[in-house]
């Protein structure tokens, strides 16, 4: 019956490539993956549509209400804000998706099957990380390009379209990379707390509540405003910002932002910290 099965390849054994393939099958065989990814893409494109259709307001002097001449800088900022604002929604869904990719295994008991097949544990975790990052990065890249295509006719009608130059592409790359980072951040938190609700609360807290709270407290405590650029979402926003011509941080309103390369490192540090906590919990605790 099973003794001399010819359907198992000779020398079949556990490998990292196999784990990545396994995680890919797991990720792509759940409906929730398509739901959440669809939501990201649709909201992102809709927001681009909305912002690009009102882009001509960027060319009005807020003080006098008079039309400003369209400069390259103005075109760049209107275009990039239209096509990257979707990250605001995207990061939440990506973070939640990252949490669920592991908390779903704990809540259903699947984790026992997964870890029995890969008792080293960290291999499975790393494979999940690879799949999460690649999926979210590609989703971000597709979304931001789709947003650009959708926004193009509206922006060019108002003469606000910035062509896709190196700077714009780097900023878009930053948006896609940040989405991947947030997915990994969610994975780490989800592995640490093992619960969908708890993990989502932490991810939303870090991405939205923390910066808001710090913003409020910085009114009384001055040094807090120096910390804000190092928050995960601020760093993420800075990753997709085109810095001013001389390379110095671009002021956006009252807040200073980090230079994109530095911002990417800060966001990476948040991601790495979360993944590390998750890894320690996964390795140390009983499944």
């Amino acid at each position: 019956m099973t003794a001399t099965s010819v359907s198992i390849p000779r020398g079949a054994r556990l490998s990292f490539g196999g784990l990545v393939r396994s995680e890919w099958i797991k990720f792509t065989s759940l409906r929730s993956t398509y739901w959440s990814s669809g939501i990201i893409l649709v909201l992102w494109v809709l927001l681009a549509l909305l912002l690009s259709s009102v882009a001509n307001f960027s060319a009005i002097d807020p003080m006098t209400g008079e039309d400003l001449p369209a400069t390259d800088e103005l075109r760049q900022s209107a275009t990039m804000s239209a096509v990257t604002s979707g990250v605001m929604f995207g990061m939440l869904v990506a973070g939640i998706q990252g949490v669920l990719s592991i908390s779903g295994e704990y809540s259903t008991g699947m984790i026992k099957s997964s870890l029995a097949a890969a008792p080293g544990r960290l291999g499975m975790y790393a494979a999940k990380g690879v799949v999460t990052f690649v999926w979210m990065f590609l989703l971000g890249a597709v979304s931001v390009l789709a947003a650009y295509l959708v926004a193009m006719p509206f922006l060019s009608a108002d003469d606000m379209l910035a062509p896709l130059g190196a700077e714009e592409l780097v900023a878009m790359l930053g948006a896609a990379t940040f989405l991947g980072f947030v997915g990994l951040f969610g994975l780490g938190i989800g592995t640490l707390v093992r619960s969908g609700a708890g993990g989502i609360a932490i991810v939303v807290g870090v991405l939205m509540v923390l910066p808001m709270a710090l913003g409020i407290f910085s009114i009384w405590i001055e040094w807090i405003s120096d910390v804000i650029p190092y928050m995960f979402d601020s760093a993420g926003n800075a990753m997709m910002t085109i810095p001013g011509g001389d390379g110095t941080p671009t002021p956006t309103g009252m807040m200073t932002t980090l230079e994109p390369g530095m911002a990417a490192l800060v966001a990476l540090a948040w991601t790495a910290a979360s993944l590390l906590l998750g890894a320690l919990a996964l390795k140390g605790r009983d499944a």
């Binding site: 099965s5 556990l14 396994s22 759940l30 008991g109 029995a116």
Partner: protein, 307 residues
């Protein structure tokens, strides 16, 4: 071959598995028998590295489970029926499990046919009955064609046909020379499936012996007879211990039904009923788990060697 040495698991102040030694040998079906909370599942989880022992160790084929290069080819494990993501189809679940070891569609197809899942392969596991979940768990355990199988309560939720099927499958796997460890709290099931039984109670090994020894140790099997001349039967079977039952029948201890029938024929005793009473493993088990302190002092049953 599974070998546990001084295996211990504590959760805070509670000791779930207490300094347990046992060996599960290839070519036989070994049963883990014990009430809920006896430490059966915890021990199984430690074998495959899901829980870390607080002390002691357990090896599979000479190595810790996690040190094997192809864990799924060494051990197939069914922990509880639903160690499966409910949102995924049975086919995708098995495909994902197999992919970790480079095991592909052909084998997935094979185990699905073997376990009778082919017709529901594309359905999401969330809608499965407990019995279907068990079949899927067994399919996953067989994926790697492993030398050792660990099945925690494999007949739980199965219909009589399914129970038969598991029993045959398990016997067949052992006959192929594999090591099979299964747990159950159903003693009748164990009596029919296992060759060897390890009785656990409160985290300790209460008995570790062949099924027949365990039954014999608890006073042997009994035979129920009905005869108009009990005094003649008593003369015919001087060694048997007779206990009159309330309905007029007699319970005989220390003899087999065959011995009773032959003795009755030789002495011309009329029998109206002759029934071997089969629930004795259950009684043996109750006797064992009821008072483990008394048991260990008395030593009525062959015990796990190191104790």
């Amino acid at each position: 071959m599974i070998e546990a040495t001084a295996l211990t698991k504590r959760y805070g102040s509670r000791t779930a598995v207490d300094n347990v030694d046992f060996t599960v040998r290839p070519g036989t079906v070994t049963g883990f028998l014990g009430p809920n909370g006896a430490g059966k599942s915890t021990t199984m989880r430690m074998i495959v590295g899901l829980d870390k022992p607080s002390a002691g160790s357990v090896t599979v084929n000479g190595k810790a489970y996690r040190e094997h290069r192809a864990p799924m080819r060494e051990v197939g494990v069914l922990l509880d029926a639903k160690a499966v993501h409910t949102g995924r189809s049975a086919y995708k679940h098995l495909l994902a499990m197999g992919a970790t070891h480079g095991i592909g569609r052909a084998r997935v197809q094979e185990v699905m046919e073997l376990t009778g899942l082919a017709s529901v392969a594309r359905k999401r596991v969330g809608g499965f009955s407990l019995g279907m979940g068990q079949r899927l768990g067994i399919a996953a355990a067989l994926l790697g064609d492993p030398a050792t199988l660990i099945l925690d309560e494999p007949v739980n939720g199965l219909d009589p046909e399914g129970v038969q099927w598991v029993r045959k499958l398990v016997r067949h796997l052992a006959a192929e020379g594999r090591t099979v460890l299964l747990s159950s709290h159903l003693m009748s099931e164990m009596a029919q499936t296992a060759d060897h039984i390890i009785v656990l109670g409160r985290g300790r090994v209460l008995a570790d012996a062949p099924v027949s020894d365990i039954i014999a140790g608890a006073g042997g099997s009994t035979v129920r007879v009905r005869t108009p001349r009990p005094e003649l039967l008593a003369q015919a079977l001087p060694d048997a211990q007779q206990t009159p039952l309330s309905d007029g029948a007699i319970s005989l201890n220390g003899v087999t039904a065959e011995q009773v029938g032959e003795a009755a024929a030789v002495h011309g005793v009329v029998l109206h009923e002759l029934t071997p009473v089969a629930s004795s493993l259950e009684e043996a088990y109750m006797a064992l788990t009821q008072d483990e302190v008394e048991y260990r002092a008395g030593g009525a049953v062959p015990v796990g060697g190191t104790r």
